[in-house]
Amino acid sequence: MGRMTITEEHARAYGFTDLPALMGLMTGDEKHGPAATSTLDVLWVLYDRVLRAGPERMDDPGRDRFLLSKGHGPMAYYAVLAAKGFLPVDWLPGFGSYDSPLGHHPDRVLVPGAEIGSGSLGHGLPIAVGTALGLRAQGLHEPRVWTLVGDAELDEGSNHEAIAFAGPAGLDRLHTVVVDNASASYARPGGIAARFEAAGWSALTVDGRDHEALYAAFTAPHPGRPHAVVARVEPKTA
């Protein structure tokens, strides 16, 4: 599959380098700190090169699902959805306003392409487990299910219910990307990947700013097992 770094929407093509400007429509500033962009590279590589999903197939039962569990700080997510044509760019300036579909936490009922609403932490991974189960039960073995969680979000016990179940259940269509900006107050080095591995997942840890490394980790084979990618970015408090 050839690499595609830009997409077209109404004759306007957006690439990765356009994302800060799209985020700027929401924040009023094209400069963003590491916290606001911690998910940006992961989201771009997923939507640009990995997910078999797009605005033309939002209702296709065979599409890949991406569930943003870490709903806080969704500007990067909205920017990528706009760049990929899921939602109009002219929605972005209204971010957070009463009439805008784009809140500070996303609502799947309002945001085209958003598979879930999120905000309260620890909900996406259990729902992703159910999505993988539901697809399997309907004989839909092709679509892959992805969820994005934050490293501190893993504090929530609900994630560990899902992690501990999905490995032994052999949910090999399930994928979790953990954006690790070292924001958990209590953590041990290597602890995230070890948690997933102990539960029978395949797990890789990569540089969360390196698109080639992310792509390789996202597409690594993991037969019979769910797959976790820990994407390390700059520490939140650095």
């Binding site: 009922v109 879930i116 159910g130 189960l133 039960a137």
Partner: protein, 304 residues
């Protein structure tokens, strides 16, 4: 007599056979009853282990893919423990499921307070769009379970209990049923408390309505009954006392009325024992009910 829960797994197993959308999600409790169903439908009967947040979250994910999940465990662990999952993973995600609980308010008194959930219906009342069925007999439970599963993508709660009336009545999944007609008050008996209410109101000139679907609340049915029987209303509910008082008040907002809400008390008894002992402790046995209902709808005491 068999129990409501005895009917649950066979009824849902038939639904699994009939409807490819139906799935069952369990958290260890009740798994043995689904052994055959699990063999027949290994991808649509899922046991997530003792993980109730995942129980509801996974059901929501299945619903997002188009399935109709039936989710079962004890009421304490189905509604109370994963309440935020019920609120967000179902309600906020705008998907439906059928939650079927067992153990009710005090079906296992010897198990103590950890296994009692008198507040389940009141908790669901804080959310929008839930249908709540409270069958009073295994036959009614089976009918209401089928209706619940067939209700599109609705959010439905079915509250099964070991407490039951001696005979089942026809239930339509919506309206209150007039069981007795009188002229000086309306008593709404919910689910398993009908027999006790009928015994308690023997000889009293009151209308008795039987409610097996309490949400949405049959406001029109209550209003109709008060037209002939007057607007003194007693609610007798097998969960937290007063759970439906606001709904009855709303139904009668434009007429002078009085409402007495009877049910399970808030106070933790810290008692074990048998169901009948807890029924009596909460004043829900026929003798206590007669005194409380008679005192409310009866003639005012003469002034000294």
């Amino acid at each position: 007599m068999d129990t409501m829960r005895d009917r649950f797994a066979p009824a849902v197993t038939r639904l699994l056979d009939e409807d490819p959308r139906v799935a069952v999600v369990l958290a260890e409790i009740g798994v043995a009853d689904f052994t055959e169903a699990l063999r027949q439908h290994p991808d649509r009967v899922v046991n997530v282990g003792i993980r109730e947040q995942l129980l509801v979250g996974a059901a929501a994910g299945m619903a997002l893919t188009g399935l109709r999940p039936v989710v079962h465990t004890f009421a304490s662990f189905l509604v109370e423990r994963p309440f935020e999952q019920v609120k967000l993973d179902l309600g906020h995600q705008d998907v439906g499921a059928v939650l079927v609980s067992a153990a009710a308010s005090f079906d296992w008194p010897a198990g103590g307070y950890t296994h009692m959930a008198p507040g389940d219906v009141a908790l669901l009342d804080t959310l929008d769009g839930w249908t709540v069925h409270v069958p009073g007999h295994p036959d009614e439970a089976e009918t209401l379970l089928r209706r619940a599963v067939a209700a599109g993508d609705d959010k439905v709660y079915v509250r099964l209990s070991l407490q039951a009336n001696a005979r089942g009545l026809p239930v339509d999944g919506g309206r209150f049923r007039t069981v007795r007609e009188g002229r000086s008050g309306v008593v709404v008996a919910v689910g398993p408390l009908l027999d006790a209410v009928l015994e308690a109101t023997e000889g009293l000139d009151v209308t008795v309505l039987y409610a097996t679907t309490v949400r949405p609340f049959d406001a029109a049915g209550l209003r109709r009954a008060t037209g002939a029987a007057g607007a003194d209303v007693v609610l007798v509910e097998p969960y937290l006392a007063g759970t439906s008082t606001a709904a009855a008040n709303d139904a009668l907002a434009d007429v002078p009325h009085r409402v007495l809400g009877l049910g399970v008390g808030r106070a933790e008894l810290r008692r074990y024992g048998r169901i009948d002992e807890h029924v009596a402790a909460h004043g829900l046995d026929a003798r206590s009910l007669r005194a409380r209902i008679g005192g409310f709808v009866g003639p005012a005491p003469e002034r000294a």
